[in-house]
Amino acid sequence: MFSPFITHAGSVREIMFKVLLALIPGIALYAWYFGPAILVSIALASLTAVATEAAMLKLRRRPLAPFLSDNSALLTAWLLALSIPPLAPWWLVVVGTMFAISIAKHLYGGLGNNPFNPAMIGYAVLIISFPVYMTHWLAPHGLGQLELSFADQLQFIFGGQFPQNITLDAVSMATPLDTLKTQLHAGHAVTDIFQMPVYGYLSGHGSELVALGYIAGGIYLLFNRVISWHLPAVFLLSLFVTAGAFHLADPAHFVPPLFHLFSGAAMLAAFFILTDPVTSPTTIRGKFIFAAGAGFLTYIIRVFGGYPDGVAFATLLMNICVPLIDAYTQPKVFGKKGVK
């Protein structure tokens, strides 16, 4: 027995649970606009994550119960599933999740010790190893030439087969970010590109509403003090300012900044990925640097890089810098802030 003898209610399990809860509005909108395949990916990733977590704990001779119930593996699974196309073959989800949990998390020491966001490592491994499968994004509700039934989607995920007369091209489409890139390459102007049906009010049709779902979840996390405002606010501001600067300089070739905020995984990153406490800085100044860097890199990779989205690599690049950022942003302690 030693002091303090009392403790505030709260646990890692509860924190992770609230983050999972906060993902639900985004997931619901996702399933509404793009079909229930995403729910299958999430379920598959969850099962894989828990099984991998258990196996790794066993191998590392760690107790199973406290770690399996901490919800951290589930969170990694959900974030990874949300980052990859729902119409991916089952093994893509499984491989990505297994890699994220076993290599990116447990080989570094498990919960609390991984320098990189495991879900983003999983995503990076998949997009480098299986780039083609990573482009099977479903067309939003009402936009595809054809819409697959849930049974058809299941058949493709687990059997790799479409019903007769249906091709992959007919049901999938490039993401708004991808379309923008290819159309710009083809010499079209931004205003013309935005007339295409894939675009909605701010960014992609449907996906912009999923982004709103993530914002709703993020606000819930902010109000429950699970996350602080610094990372999301600074990341979104940095992305906005960078995109805005390019847009102002050349509006014909660079889209308005709000498009970037509501495209791809920007909102998911702002509220759910960058805010992973294990892989982000602990000091306030550090959080500003980290989030500003991630916003800037996301834009640069999206616009000038070869990948459809820049969030994952921006996150990982900033994850590398965290120990350095923390070391150089130590705040002055009580009474040692210099002469006032």
Binding site: P4, I6, F67, D70, P331
Partner: protein, 512 residues
């Protein structure tokens, strides 16, 4: 309205103060025996001033202060000294310390008490009076008050009187302020006089309206226009001296800095009360208010003689059957008592009977996820998660670099930690390891210096011998030369004397 300042973080644990403030302070009375430790204060232990078998009067000196940081210890009642020996004291280490055991004679007969007119006495004498009266800080740190009443390098603008009492369960200061506000206020005025302080700010948390009212009434009754009762927000550890000074004056007293050098000083309200008893009534510090609460039938505050065994005190409140131990102090910073046989000291502000239901063992620790809830609540503005990491890795150099010694061990970080990591324990461990290393290093340095000096001395003696030999030979040669060249006998005799002088062993030379 006075501008209040803010300190970082803090927590709001349930206060549990209502149960012990229902009834007035009760006299605990005479126990069967009193065991009074001679080391109840910061600094050196007091030197025994009585012998076994002595009959002593209430207030008679048991131990004299020894060295500059020390304080006196007195007989809490009249009776016979039956032992002066090592006994287990109220300290978490469970290690024994030198104690005087007194068998009360039941007459409770005082020594002659002399009242001192503080306005006619110079501050140095008043400080000496407080030192001999054994007045120490009753907020828990038990630092000798006379030392804190020495002026610093600049004029004391504010004397802060700490009535915040932020720890849950503890209500001894609250009840003292409710019932004895007048004496506290007068004691504070004496302290202000000694320090020549500008104003007295009495900080009381807003969850003590009765104490606030009583103190305000006492201040106006004594028409002290340099004294003000300031209501501060209830937040733990808002009653930490550094935190309260910050809230009331905006001044941040860093670790290792004397607050008087920044123009401010802070005393607990009970210390001011004791100073008043000592100066006005000639009564040394032989009793204090103790909150008895937790797993008991009737939680209450008692005025307890120093040296009263905890088990006899607890009997007055009636510990419930499932009581599994006692905590001295509050649930945030208190220490578990090694047994209920130990006795009340000047540091005992509260005794909480604990039970598994009241303080269930914490769930097993999980790894740190760097969530920084500890950073958010740290009043010292540290990075507790980094300190934890360094302490765990035994990287003590880094821990010190990250200001480990600025940690006040308030426990707010541990309280908030979602991973239930006993953070403060890690810091205490790191601090004690660093102290132990420093002691070892000091010892090694001393040994090395001694050894080097020893070698130096041997070398010097060797050199001196060689020089003397050379001189001797030279002198002999000169004598020989003189003899052959016919120098007079007187000169030869002088040279011979010189040779004899040189040839004498080194030890016979007078010390330089």
């Amino acid at each position: 309205m006075r501008t209040l300042y803010h300190f970082n973080g803090g927590v709001h644990p349930p206060t549990h103060k209502a149960q012990s403030t229902q009834t007035p302070i009760m006299q605990a009375g005479l126990p069967s025996r009193l065991v009074v430790p001679l080391h109840q204060h910061a600094g050196n232990s007091a030197k025994p001033a009585v012998q076994v078998g002595d009959h002593v009067l209430k207030g008679q000196l048991f131990g004299m202060p020894e060295g500059s940081v020390s304080s006196a210890v007195h007989a809490p009642t009249s009776g016979t000294v039956t032992a002066i020996d090592m006994q287990v004291v109220a300290h978490p280490s469970g290690l024994p310390d030198l104690c005087v055991t007194l068998l009360p004679d039941g007459r409770d007969e005082w020594i002659t008490r002399v009242s001192t007119d503080y306005l006619q006495t110079n501050p140095a004498e008043l400080r000496q009076l407080l030192r001999l009266a054994g007045v120490v800080g009753l907020g828990g740190a038990v630092f000798p008050s006379d030392l804190k009443l020495r002026p610093g390098t600049q004029k004391i603008k504010a004397l802060v009187l700490n009535g915040a009492e932020c720890e849950p369960y503890i209500t001894c200061d609250d009840m003292l302020m409710r019932e004895r506000a007048d004496e506290i206020v007068r004691g504070a005025e004496m302290m202000r006089h000694i320090l020549e302080a500008g104003e007295v700010l009495i900080g009381i948390e807003d969850n003590k309206p009765a104490a606030i009212a009583a103190m305000r009434a006492a201040v106006s009754a004594n028409s002290l226009n340099t004294m003000e009762v300031v209501v501060v927000p209830t937040i733990y550890p808002g009653g930490g001296a550094k935190q309260l000074i910050r809230v009331l004056t905006g001044i941040e007293v860093a670790a290792g800095v004397r607050s008087t050098d920044l123009g401010v000083q802070c005393f607990n309200v009970a210390t001011a009360y004791s100073a008043h008893r000592a100066i006005e009534h000639g009564e040394p510090l032989i009793s204090r208010i103790v909150t008895l609460t937790g797993n008991v039938q009737q939680a209450q505050n008692f005025e307890v003689l120093i040296g009263t065994p905890v088990n006899e005190l607890v009997a007055l409140a009636g510990a419930k059957a499932d009581t599994n131990g006692y905590i001295m102090g509050g649930p945030m910073m208190g220490v578990p008592l090694p047994s209920d046989q130990v006795t009340v000291t000047k540091a005992t502000n509260c005794i909480i009977a604990s039970s598994p239901a009241l303080f269930p063992p914490p769930p097993p620790s999980m790894p740190c996820i760097r969530c920084t809830r500890c950073v958010e609540v740290c009043p010292a503005e540290l990075q507790p998660q980094d300190l934890y990491w360094f302490a765990k890795a035994k990287n003590f150099g880094k821990a010190q670099e990250f200001n480990l010694f600025d940690c006040i061990e308030c426990g707010a970080c541990s309280y908030m930690c979602p991973s239930n990591i006993p953070l403060v324990q890690y810091y205490r461990f790191a601090k004690s390891e660093i102290w132990a290393n420093e002691r070892e290093k000091d010892a090694a340095n001393l040994a090395r210096e001694r050894h080097e000096y020893h070698l130096l001395r041997i070398e010097r003696e060797k050199q001196e011998k060689a020089e003397k030999l050379a001189q001797k030979e030279k002198a002999a040669a000169a004598a020989k030369a003189a003899a052959t060249t016919g120098t007079d006998a007187k000169t030869i005799e002088a040279l011979r004397a010189q040779v004899r002088e040189i040839a004498r062993p080194a030890s016979e030379h007078p010390k330089e």
